[in-house]
């Protein structure tokens, strides 16, 4: 039988990992967009 606290712990870790992945993805897109915007301003 699994400990319900282990299950809760894994659920929280999984949710945080998904959110962290989404945030990192958003950050990469943001840095790309900032670079394009800055290059556009230089031209």
């Amino acid at each position: 039988m699994t400990d319900p606290r282990d299950e809760e712990s894994r659920r929280r870790q999984k949710t945080r990992a998904i959110i962290m992945a989404l945030l990192l993805g958003a950050f990469v897109i943001l840095v790309y967009a900032i670079t394009i915007a800055k290059m556009g301003m230089l031209q």
Binding site: E8, R12, A37
Partner: protein, 303 residues
Amino acid sequence: MNTATITHDTALPADWRDLLALTKPRVMSLVVFTALCGMLAAPATVHPVLGFTAILCIALGAGAAAALNMWYEADLDALMKRTAGRPLPAGRLDRQTALHFGVGLAFFSVLLMGLAANWLAATILAASILFYVLVYTVWLKRRTPQNIVIGGAAGAFPPMIGWAAATGDVTLLPALLFTLIFLWTPPHFWALSLFVRSDYAAAGVPMLPVVSGARATRQQIALYTLPMAAAAVAPWPLGLAGPVYGAAAAALSLAFLILALRVLANRASEPEGMKPEKRLFAFSIFYLFAIFGALVLDRWMLA
């Protein structure tokens, strides 16, 4: 700082909702709005991506300051009904996670602001975070009833940062917007502290109603309303804003003054009889939203 009263379940990793709650999202909405208005009122065109990033950095910086405030004040929050349910005093999060989260977010927001917008905006953002955490939270809050007067400066920075992010400088109008929020903060917080006085007294926080009583606090609210109204209207006669803003600022400040005078006339000492205080507190939030909204509308109409 007494941490013995707070217990937490270290066996479980922090829930993301508790990390989000550390950033005080409701307070952040006013910060974001005033910063956005400061940026939109500035006489410069900002690239949408860079504008979005600057506002994001201001929001993250405000969230970092809030997280560090909650980290430092966890013992106080545990003693007050209004704040006892926050993640740290409720034991849903350990203090080290909150500290790391706050410091990490602060560095990230300042660096990204510097790289995406400019280093003047990043410097003011860093100063506002440090001011809120070190000057207000660590130094003033537990020591003096003037805590909110001086500490209010931390919340006054966002429109100035928004302006600086757009233009790369700070002129008279963002300085006046800073002054407006700086002078708005004491009546706003003192109205709240009147009807949650027992909370602050229980936690030993020397808010003005706890130290000097309700009467003196009500007098101070009315007194601070006058320079606040002057700072609100000032951009119009100084030629920095048009009649739309001037009329809105005058009407809203008059309404604020009427509500402040009702607070002054109130004699109630228990929260049940403090309707005028509750009304002033609610209106003060609307006041700031409306006045900054009017400024942007006015600038657009002038343009």
